[in-house]
């Protein structure tokens, strides 16, 4: 091979560019298979083989087949790019060998774009942009710039992505490869090279963020006969694969960066320390080095410049710590890779005691563009202290897994939602782990944060090498911290005590917490040790090892506390804490696997008894529960969750309610419960079962609270509710309806006459819209509207109703209004449908019933005539940055107003309790908090600031779901009983033995495959006629089949 001179670079570029253009009579079509490790592992090699066969069989010599590296969007691999003479390139995603054959025959030969599989048209690189208008056919495929994943990226490091063949040095040269090296060698002094890098503001992309130019300057200033340039390609962070992509698909860019660095500091030897787990990268590097040497681009007298520099690849043996610079250097020296203290810094004394610079792959790959286009060009994007672009490996619970290169300063949420496509399966975003095991978790409230070194550090994470692991609501942050700590424990080299022992001690505590063995004081210990480890460990690995714990403690301390105090994993991930996820997800802890398995066994009355153990309202919950259990159902990870809620209803539909033996009143104490809603009645029942005399005071004529006066009868028939309440009353609970505390009975009287009080008054007052015209006739709150409907009063319903809000009461109001004769019902919601808090099935039902949903709209003014509302003036919204909940904030669009005709406006934007007898100053012990709810004592579920007064349900916790209210009621009963016993000096309550119900533990039959059972519903035309129950209940066959879908993850060991 002849050694190249400078002018040869221009010649090669010219030749290749000509060759790359499709030309009649030469090559008329080309197909590129993207074969990075990611592509190959998804089957790109098989696609390649299939295409090769097709080319052979076609006998067409004017069709070229070529490869390229990773195209960036990993979850759509294998990717194939098709180019035809005079047409815009088309990218196909998720290509199988069979598809590849069809694409070949259909598109390459016949010129018909396979639209169903086409992912995007065009190239990412602007210089390859297609000139001329897209053909009619290809216009149907969205352009690369329109696909947010590609469109928002800015390719500098990945500039040759998908474009060139890594094995072909000529292709690299044709893309301006080695021109920067030539410029540095022929036109620039060492000082100028370093200065250019300093001007660019480039900072070390390996994680430290140390200014690269400064590092080079130090090494350049060190006097020595020998110096070294090292490339850190020992990428080992979990979830990081940026460097691998560059090494595999564009190895020459790293070599060129090293040549320039060598020129800058005066080195003549370089090493690339590449992890052996990257065999393809090692292969490509060695190939690239060989090619460069053969052409005189490495070795003696590079390009005839008189400058000598050569590179060797050193394979790392898989120790994470060898990514630390001093350990890496020690490893190259052939010793055990352990870090040593600095100073001396490698720039002064590095490899074999000589001045050395160590940069990572991404940093070096950025260098050639800086030299070629100038430091100022590079610095033109980014933030003042973080210039240029950064590559991230986005993985985890995100739609678009892949590599993204973005300008510094982009919002974190933009990467996750725009480029990443958001969280799959409709789950909520919880946190993003930045910077690998040395990094931290950033929660939803910081999605607006700018991605740059300083901002991310401020959030308690680090930029790191660019690993970005997105986590949805199912990830337990304690478990995540434990995972990363385990990684550090495994990878600690063992040299220094804090890292070797301290991390293990922290891991021991974290493991214990995840297993439900956490103790008070554990969090404080973690914090103290984290501080010590961070400040005393020898190298970066140890110093940053506590970061995942620190950042999760910073943002998710409550999760740690829930594990320690309540032995509860809020994300339902720590399986040692529960029998089955569904049960753990249920606020009332209903034994889901037990009753589902009893349905399967056909033992419905046993199943009913199981239901009643933890929930006095199973037939209510079987209808209206928001079924948190189903969100955590393991079956849902495979296809769809088991329909747990309706199986519960099936039990209560089919079996007769087992009677509870009325308890004997065994205790002297009298308890008052204020509010006969689900929470109050549950507390009353539990207290009665413990032998107390309970009186329930209810303002309204009938018991049931929101179940009776909020939820419409078409969702919850009155007789069903009545049955459950009667069962509670029959335990000897005294119920006084139409008795409002403060009106019919004095608060002081209750306080004087009863030993303890449970306040469960609910939240029966709608929040106001606070806009002009709200006092017009026809404006009403949703709670008030539904109460009137459910009281059976004559309700004034307009013909054109507008409901404002996106929660369940908005839907209830809308659907009720339709049933009461409203011709047009419109729901205005300020965000998008996926942000609506209402249950999805409710939204669907409303739509079926003709309710119109208008998103991104906020009423600003109500206009009326004759004192009655006539029109709602709305502001059109658009979504901007992220709010604290991680949802995009609706912002008014200037000048975009519209109006909706309406003669009734129902405000369903929230509700609050009305409790005149509780101190509203926000200051006293027994008072309301800022949000209008009753203030609870620290660390307690239902205690208030005043002894023997307890509170729960919507009035205190504001949770707003039936099952939470029930759960609060149970908790209140327990705490009231404990408080009384404590006051009396009695021993703690021991619950009587429950009658033994044998739960089938043997998974005797295989889990049945099948779709999730659908609840049969009343036809829409019948629904609107009245308030008949819409959902008809499961048949036996359907219920049995559904129960058989349960994976029985509660069965830990199958007995044979």
């Amino acid at each position: 091979m002849t050694r190249l001179k400078l002018e040869d670079l221009y010649r090669i570029k010219g030749e290749w560019v000509r060759a790359a253009v499709l030309e009649q009579g030469e090559t008329v079509a080309r197909v590129t298979v993207h074969m990075g490790t990611c592509g190959i592992s998804s089957g790109a090699d098989k696609v390649w083989t299939a295409l090769l066969e097709e080319v052979d069989q076609s006998g067409r010599r004017d069709i070229a087949l070529t490869t390229s590296g990773c195209a960036g969007i990993c979850n759509h691999e294998p990717l194939v790019t098709v180019e035809r003479l005079g047409e815009e390139a088309i990218k196909y995603a998720n290509v199988t060998p069979e598809m590849a054959r069809q694409i070949f025959r259909g598109h390459l030969i016949d010129g018909v774009i396979q639209k169903d599989w086409a992912y995007a048209r065009g190239w990412e690189q602007e210089e390859k942009a297609f000139e001329g208008a897209p053909s009619e056919e290809s216009a149907a495929v969205s352009s690369v710039r329109e696909v947010p994943f590609f469109g928002r990226q800015e390719l500098r490091v990945l500039r040759n992505r998908g474009l060139i063949q890594a094995e072909n040095i000529e292709e690299y040269i044709a893309c301006d490869g080695y021109f920067a090296a030539a410029k540095a060698l022929f036109q620039m002094s060492s000082r100028e090279v370093v200065q250019e890098i300093k001007t660019s503001g480039l900072r070390g992309r390996g994680g430290g963020g140390f200014p690269t130019g400064l590092k080079w300057e130090f090494a350049a200033a060190s006097k020595s006969d020998e110096k070294y340039v090292l490339c850190n390609a020992d990428e080992g962070d979990p979830g990081a694969f940026m460097d691998r992509c560059v090494l595999e698909s564009d190895p020459h860019s790293v070599l060129e960066g090293m040549i320039i660095a060598a020129k800058g500091i005066g080195a003549h030897k370089g090493y690339i320390y590449c992890r052996a787990e990257y065999p393809l990268a090692v292969k490509m590097l060695n190939l690239a080095i060989r090619q460069a040497r053969e052409r005189g681009l490495l070795g003696e007298d590079i390009l005839g410049s008189g400058f000598n520099f050569d590179i060797e690849v050193y394979r790392g043996a898989g120790a994470f710590v060898c990514g630390e610079e001093t350990a890496l250097i020690t490893s190259i020296e052939g010793k055990r890779g352990m870090p040593r203290p600095r100073p001396p810094f490698p720039a002064v004394q590095g490899l074999w005691g000589k001045p050395t610079i160590l940069n990572n792959v991404e940093t070096l790959a950025s260098v050639s563009q800086i030299i070629l286009k100038g430091g100022k060009w590079y610095a033109s994007i980014g933030t003042p202290r973080s210039r240029g672009t950064k590559v991230f490996a986005v993985t985890g619970d995100i739609e678009n897994v892949g590599l993204v290169e973005v300008p510094m300063g982009i919002a974190l949420g933009d990467i996750i939602y725009d480029i990443g496509g958001g969280i799959p399966k409709g789950k909520k975003f919880k946190a993003v782990q930045l910077g690998g095991p040395s990094g931290g978790c950033v929660p939803a409230e910081h999605l607006n944060a700018s991605v740059d070194y300083e901002s991310i550090t401020k959030l308690g994470a680090i930029m790191g090498s660019g690993g970005m692991i997105v986590m949805d609501e199912d990830k337990c942050m304690v478990d995540v911290a434990r995972f990363f700590m385990e990684f550090c424990v495994d990878e600690s080299c063992g040299k220094c005590t804090p890292c070797r022992v301290g991390t293990r001690q922290m891991l021991q505590i974290l493991t214990r917490i995840c297993q439900g063995q956490g103790r008070e004081g554990d969090i404080e210990k973690l914090e103290a040790w984290a501080d010590i480890i961070r400040n005393t460990a020898l190298c970066g690995l140890g110093q940053t090892a506590p970061n995942p714990v620190m950042s999760t403690l910073r943002y998710f301390r409550h999760e740690y506390e829930a594990h320690i105090r309540e032995k509860r994993c809020p994300a339902v991930a720590c399986s040692d804490l529960f029998k089955a996820p569904c049960q753990h997800a249920c606020p009332a802890g209903m034994d889901v696997p037990a009753y589902v398995s009893l349905v399967r066994a056909g033992r419905l009355s046993d199943a009913y008894r199981i239901l009643l153990r933890s929930n006095p309202f199973p037939s209510v919950c079987g209808r209206v529960c928001d079924h948190k259990c189903e969100f955590k159902c393991r079956r849902g990870m495979l296809d769809e969750p088991v329909n747990i809620r309706y199986l519960k209803r099936f039990i209560t539909d089919q079996a007769s309610r087992p009677a509870l033996k009325p308890p004997t009143t065994s205790r002297m104490e009298k308890i008052a419960v204020v509010g006969a809603g689900p929470s109050g009645l549950t507390a009353a029942r539990q207290l009665a079962l413990r032998g107390y005399q309970v009186t329930v005071f209810e303002d309204l004529p009938e018991p049931g609270g929101m179940l009776r006066y909020g939820i419409p009868a078409y969702r919850l028939p009155r007789e069903i509710l009545k049955g459950e309440i009667e069962a509670i009353i029959s335990l000897g609970v005294e119920l006084r309806c139409d008795t409002r505390v403060g009106r019919d009975i004095a608060w002081e009287t209750i306080k004087a006459e009863y030993d303890a009080i449970y306040l469960a008054v609910g939240a029966h007052q709608s929040m106001r819209l606070d806009i002009e015209g709200e006092n017009l006739h026809g404006c009403i709150g949703a709670v008030e509207f539904l109460r009137q409907v459910n009281l059976g009063h004559q309700v004034d319903v307009g013909s054109r109703v507008v409901v404002v809000g996106g929660g369940n009461s908005a839907i209830d109001a809308a659907r009720s209004a339709r049933r009461l004769g409203a011709a047009e019902v419109t729901i205005l919601y300020r965000r998008l449908r996926e942000d609506m808090p209402a249950q999805e099935e409710e939204i669907v039902a409303a739509e079926e019933e003709g309710v119109k949903l208008v998103y991104l709209a906020v009423p600003t003014r109500l206009v009326g005539g004759n004192g009655r509302v006539e029109k709602v003036i709305c502001q059109r919204m658009s979504l901007g940055g992220f709010d604290a909940s991680g949802r995009r904030k609706p912002l008014p669009m200037a000048g975009a107003e519209f109006s909706v005709e309406a003669d009734q406006v129902i405000a369903a934007i929230g509700q609050r309790p009305e409790i005149p007898f509780v101190d509203a100053t926000e200051e006293g012990d027994f008072s309301l908090a800022r949000n209008g709810l009753i203030k609870l004592a620290e660390g307690s579920r239902t205690r208030t600031g005043e002894a023997m007064i307890f509170a729960g349900g919507d009035a205190a916790s504001g949770w707003g779901t039936v099952i939470w209210a029930i759960s609060d009621g149970r908790a209140a009963a327990g705490e009231i009983d404990s408080a009384i016993r404590a006051r009396n000096g009695e021993p703690a309550y021991i619950p009587p033995d429950e009658d033994d119900i044998d739960i089938p533990q043997v998974v005797d039959e295989e889990v049945k495959e099948g779709p999730r059972a659908v609840m049969p519903e009343l036809p829409v035309r019948d629904r609107l006629k009245g308030f008949r129950e819409v959902e008809r209940g499961f048949s036996k066959e359907v219920a049995l089949a559904e129960a058989c879908r349960c994976l029985r993850c509660d069965v830990k060991e199958v007995m044979t």
């Binding site: 424990v489 495994d490 063992g494 804090p498 022992v501 301290g502 293990r504 001690q505 010590i532 005393t536």
Partner: protein, 642 residues
């Protein structure tokens, strides 16, 4: 090296000026600020692993390990405050929690740096839960036990093994919490390349490596009752500085004095550290006389009278040339002098000789142009080629062995061996496994090849015979060497013919002399005080074997059993010895007990003849046991013995 400028910094408010390159720890200790350390050891390179020595620098939140932090101009160091103490205590607790450090059942209790640190930090209980780990205890070694359960992974043993012993037996294995100190590639210490120098034992701050000799702490008593005696080890003539630890009259341990200026840095070897702890034979605790074919314990008077009578009788019957006096060169100069003076001046001995006298006579014969100074062993550190002929330092002078290894590791010195296989074999550049006579012929041939004008007699067959073993390469190495050192020993000096030795000396002179007119030659001598005995002229005369007519003898031993020579048939033999001379068995008529070197102060001459060192009395001798010079004085004074 340009002189390093001084640096001024502040330590706990005190302004201190120290040379550049000083560590913060050194600077702080220099002004008496106490900083705890564990992985740090003055004789070893800094490590920075344990992090107990952390200090606050310029108020930074990150604490710095003072042992590896160089001073910087204007640095403001705080060595102690509440945060630092709390941090150190937690790190200490981490160490205690990591493995089962239960002091009350540890052999090293009372002599343990980890335990001492716990006392210093008032760590009366653990707030960090123990991590349950179980490691093996390695009891495969004769002198040492390695209990990984007590290891704090400070790496001192690893560094000592490499940096001081010149060995690479110990290293870290596995990583993180599973790290252990590994031996060679795996396996037990007893089956390893360990040369039992015991440096690892000495530098181990805990009970992870402990001695198998006198380990039980019941014999150790409390450290405050221990007697520490600084002295020198007379075992091989290197006279390494040592420290003996004695409790009651028990020798508990022997340590090298690692922090002196001696080039050997008191690293000590198996012979100096462990041999004195061992029982070398049946101790002779009282005089014995032979009676009717058996031994009978006798009083000193009776025994000495018997000796006097035996000697007198031989002289009476056989004349003046009948009496032979032989003494071991393991004895102190005081004993040697007394032996020589009393036997020649006061008693009518015809010949007084050192047991190893013939080596001396050979050496003198080989240096036919007069005696020369030998190279000091510190010269090894500078050598680029070490040629070892007929010597086995690993066995006879292990510290020299370590110096050779260090020269190889630190200086890239080459090693060539002529002679039998030995422990250095695996590292040699060339090894010619010749027997001693063959070695002599080889040397002569090599000399002739390098310097054809020399008087040596080459033998062609020798070259052919050794060519396949690397003869040519050896000659090349010798020719190219700029600063070679030759080490030879008893195998060469003990030959009947001194011509090989003479040629070897000529060979060393080709590259010139070392400074101070020293030959490039290190002579390993048979016993610890050979140089002393020879300097006293004890071996100056002819050896006894050439003279007939000896009928009675007096033999003074140090601790040898095998004399390495055949005694002439004698009518009467009295032996002064600390042990029963089992090998001499029937030939002895009277046994007189004598102190071991540990039991009497004595002066010894360094093997290269450059100086003398006093070896102090470490133990009280048993009640009936006297020094040899005292016994001889009494004997000389007895009526009838002269």
């Amino acid at each position: 090296m340009e002189p390093k400028p001084d640096i001024t910094l502040t330590i706990d408010g005190n302004e201190v000026t120290v040379p550049n390159g000083t560590t913060v720890l050194e600077a702080a200790r220099g002004i008496g600020r106490p900083i705890p350390t564990l992985c740090h050891h003055e004789a070893l390179t800094p490590w920075g692993g344990c992090r107990l020595c952390v200090v606050e620098i310029d108020g930074a939140p990150k604490l710095a390990a003072s042992c590896v932090t160089p001073v910087r101009q204007g640095m403001d160091v705080v060595t102690t405050n509440e945060r630092i103490i709390e941090t150190r205590r937690t790190i200490l607790e981490f160490l205690f929690s990591e493995r089962p450090h239960y002091c009350m059942i540890c052999a090293q209790s009372g002599d343990c740096e980890l335990q001492q640190l716990a006392y210093q930090h008032q760590m009366d209980h653990l707030t960090v839960p123990p991590l349950d780990q179980d490691f093996k205890v390695d009891i495969s070694h004769e002198d040492l036990v390695v209990d990984h359960n007590r290891c704090v992974l400070c790496g001192r043993c690893v560094r000592a093994c490499r940096e001081l012993a010149g060995q690479n037996v110990l290293s870290f294995q596995n990583r993180g919490g599973r790290t252990t100190i590994g031996v060679d590639l795996a396996g037990g210490l007893g089956d390893s390349t360990c040369v039992s120098c015991g440096l690892c034992l000495q530098v181990c701050p805990t009970g992870a490596i402990f001695s198998r000799h006198r380990t039980h702490y019941a014999v150790k008593g409390k450290p405050k009752d221990w007697l520490k005696i600084e002295s020198h080890c007379p075992e091989c003539g290197l006279l390494c500085p040592v420290e003996y630890t004695v409790a009651g009259n028990n020798l508990i341990k022997i340590d090298g004095r690692l922090t002196g200026e001696d080039p050997v840095r008191g690293q000590l070897c198996r012979k100096g550290r462990f041999d004195p702890m061992k029982t070398l034979g049946r101790r002779l605790l009282a005089p014995h006389v032979r009676d009717d074919g058996g031994w009978r314990q006798a009083g000193w008077d009776e025994a000495l009278q018997t000796v006097a009578a035996g000697l007198a009788s031989a002289r009476k019957n056989h004349g003046d040339s009948a009496l032979l006096g032989l003494i071991s060169s393991g004895c102190s100069l005081e004993e040697l002098k007394a032996f020589k003076n009393i036997l020649t001046d006061k008693l009518p001995f015809h010949l007084v000789d050192a047991i190893d006298g013939r080596h001396y006579r050979n050496i003198i014969a080989a240096m036919d142009d007069g005696p020369h100074k030998e190279a000091p062993w510190s010269a090894l550190a500078e050598a680029d080629l070490i040629l070892q002929v007929g010597a086995d330092p690993a066995r006879t002078h292990p510290v020299v062995f370590a110096l050779i290894r260090r020269a190889m590791l630190e200086n890239d010195a080459r090693l060539a061996i002529i002679g039998p296989e030995n422990a250095l074999g695996q590292w040699t550049s060339v090894h010619l496994p010749a027997s001693p006579p063959e070695s002599a012929m080889l040397i002569s041939t090599i000399l002739n090849e390098i310097d054809p004008r020399s008087r040596s007699k080459p033998a062609d067959t020798v070259r052919e015979r050794w060519q396949p073993h690397g003869y040519g390469y050896l000659v090349k190495l010798i020719k190219e060497a700029r600063n070679p050192i030759v080490i030879t020993g008893p195998d060469m000096t003990g030959l009947d013919d001194s011509s090989g030795l003479r040629d070897l000396i000529s060979l060393t002179r080709i590259k010139g002399l070392l400074p101070d007119q020293c030959l490039r030659l290190i002579l390993l001598k048979p016993r610890g005080n050979s140089a002393g005995a020879w300097a006293l002229g004890l071996a100056a005369g002819q050896g006894f074997s050439e003279t007939n007519g000896f009928r009675a003898g007096l033999l003074c031993l140090a601790d040898e059993n095998d004399l390495g020579l055949e005694l002439p048939g004698l009518d009467f033999l009295a032996v002064i010895s600390p042990y029963w001379p089992e090998a001499l068995a029937d030939g002895v008529q009277v046994l007189l007990p004598k102190t071991r070197w540990l039991e009497a102060e004595g002066t010894f001459m360094t093997a290269d003849g450059s100086g003398e060192r006093v070896c102090k009395r470490v133990l009280e001798p048993p009640p009936e046991v006297k020094t040899a010079d005292l016994t001889l004085e009494v004997l000389a004074g007895l009526k009838g013995s002269a």
